[in-house]
């Protein structure tokens, strides 16, 4: 399925989605509330069947935190990138997609650990890399740690 058709399809599922097309992927930005629903239908529809989630990344974009999902269909070979931003930085929340993609469990854990995004519905959300009593989320841009991070510049 080519990007134009995918666009059409995504607009059919969720009303407010913005699109961006790069050399590599079609990028869809949706709100966090709609993400789970969109992913579910994208995964389950036989003509899309995005079954392979090959990357989940957390990104700190100053005013909010963003999660990027890279999806691929092993049957059709098409790819799509879903982006969604949390509402705020203070209490970022998202819906977990572990029920759709089990491989997301550790990745969501990692994003929670390093960005502080809470994934609702995650079976075992915990700090994975940092100690349990660690303050702050290291991969955020405003994270300061004068002891452990040596600034060379």
């Amino acid at each position: 399925m080519d990007n134009a058709k995918l666009k059409e399809l995504v607009t059919g599922i969720v009303s407010e989605a913005s699109f961006e097309e790069s050399k590599q992927f079609l990028t869809v930005t949706v709100s966090p509330a709609q993400l789970h629903q969109l992913l579910k239908s994208l995964k389950e529809r036989p003509d899309t069947s995005f079954d392979f989630l090959f990357c989940i990344s957390g990104v700190d974009i100053q005013d909010k935190l963003m999660v990027v999902y890279h999806l691929e269909s092993t049957a059709h070979g098409h790819k799509i990138v879903l982006k969604t931003g949390t509402e705020n930085r203070e209490k970022p929340e998202m819906e977990s997609i572990v029920d759709l993609y089990k491989g997301a469990e550790l990745h969501e854990n990692e994003i929670f650990d390093l960005f502080g995004i809470v994934f609702n519905g995650h079976p075992n959300l915990r700090r994975m890399f940092m100690p349990d009593d660690w303050n702050g989320y290291p991969l955020r841009k405003d994270y300061v740690d004068e002891v452990n991070i040596i600034d060379l510049s």
Binding site: F54, Y101, N124, F129
Partner: protein, 375 residues
């Protein structure tokens, strides 16, 4: 008799026998800690606890220029250092539209395949050792030494090569390189059947791995298991075939797929991949075109603002590098989709109901490299 008045707490109700496998355990190959809940010898549940070697490479990358990131990627999956380097270089070259000399493509592919051979040799060595056949460890390392020598002569490093730079490679090939690689292939073609005689055919080994840790194709895709582990379950996920890069379009090779999905099939995929790697190297080694070993690059590399993704096939699976650039000389965000992290996520699922000894065999068949998980 005293009556028990205190209500039962959760702990008393179901007494689980927990074992901490790791962080210092002989079969976790690094500082992986698996909290295993046991019933007798049978694994009920396991929980990976990570972070013992977390260095914050993704954070460090945000401070480094693109040329400097490369030496950090060495330290992700140190057994696929070259492929990790290549991922960054490919992004930079692709985005800046640099015409990479053909020679560089050949060199990179040969090096990557040597690295894969090297990694699989070490894996074979450790797999045997985990199953109790210590001798395999020494045979594997003995043969690996030849590749390390080849690396050392050309790249200057044995494990952490840092051989790729954006636009090319650090140095040109050493004059002895071609001959040495050819000698090695000749040597290793004789040694690889020995591996089979010593371990693969062995009835004990077969019983220890056949039907153990079965991973279905659907689960492999759902969990994102890539590389030899995914291909052992029939998941066609070879990036070299799907999205060829460097000199892979020029060579003929087979993607090794097996359907069984157990530890033995993952084992056999890796053994067969060693043969394929040797085939690839043999196709390329005599045809390395002459030319410069690096393209002309600007001294300061700046990627235009945007998002870039590059997938390469490392020895353990698909490495994805996701770079967000804001136009500065350092990236805004770098995310490594490390193959081992995804492979680890399935360990709990497939080792439930297996025995401790099976858990070791399953772990060995997945070939974890812990720094790649922790990053």
């Amino acid at each position: 008799m005293e009556e028990i008045t205190k209500p039962l707490t959760g702990l008393e109700k179901e007494e689980e026998y927990f074992i901490n496998m790791g962080p210092q355990h002989p079969s976790t190959h690094g500082v992986l800690r698996l909290v295993v809940s046991l019933q007798g010898e049978i694994v009920k549940h396991l929980d990976p606890h990570l972070g013992y070697i977390h260095r914050g490479i993704e954070k460090m990358c945000e401070k480094d220029t693109y040329a400097q990131i490369i030496h950090l990627t060495d330290r992700l999956d140190y057994l696929s250092a070259h492929m990790n380097n290549e991922a960054i270089c490919l992004i930079v070259e692709d985005v800046l539209e640099v015409e990479v000399p053909e020679r560089v493509k050949y060199i990179r592919t040969i090096m990557a395949e040597l690295q894969r051979l090297n990694s699989h040799q070490l894996w074979w060595a450790c797999m045997g050792m985990d199953l109790g056949a210590l001798t395999t460890f020494f045979y594997g390392l003995r043969d690996r030494e030849h590749i390390l020598d080849i690396f050392e002569e050309t790249c200057g490093g044995r494990l952490l090569l840092s051989y790729n730079t954006p636009g090319g490679v650090m140095y040109d090939l050493h004059p002895n390189f071609q001959q040495k690689v050819k000698d090695f292939i000749k040597y290793f073609r004789k040694k690889l059947p020995e591996y089979d005689r010593l371990l693969t055919g062995n009835v004990i080994f077969q019983n220890r791995t056949k039907g153990i840790g079965i991973l279905s194709k659907e689960d492999a895709i759902n969990y994102g298991i890539t590389g030899p582990s995914g291909r052992g379950s029939g998941f066609s996920c070879d990036i070299r075939k799907k999205y060829p890069y460097s000199a892979y379009p020029y060579v003929k090779f087979n993607e090794i797929l097996r359907e069984e999905g157990d530890s033995l099939s993952r084992y056999k995929v890796r053994i067969d991949e060693m043969w394929e790697s040797m085939n690839i190297i043999e196709q390329l080694i005599d045809n390395i075109p002459e030319g410069p070993h690096t393209a002309k690059m600007k001294p300061v590399l700046k990627l235009p603002a945007g998002e870039y993704f590059q997938r390469v096939e490392t020895s353990r699976g698909e490495l994805g590098v996701y770079i967000i650039s804001d136009g500065a000389k350092t990236p805004y965000r770098v995310k490594f989709r490390s193959p081992n992290m995804c492979n680890l996520s399935v360990l709990d699922h497939i080792s439930r109901g297996a025995k401790i000894a099976d858990l070791v065999a399953i772990g060995a068949s997945f070939d974890f490299v812990i720094p790649d998980i922790d990053r």
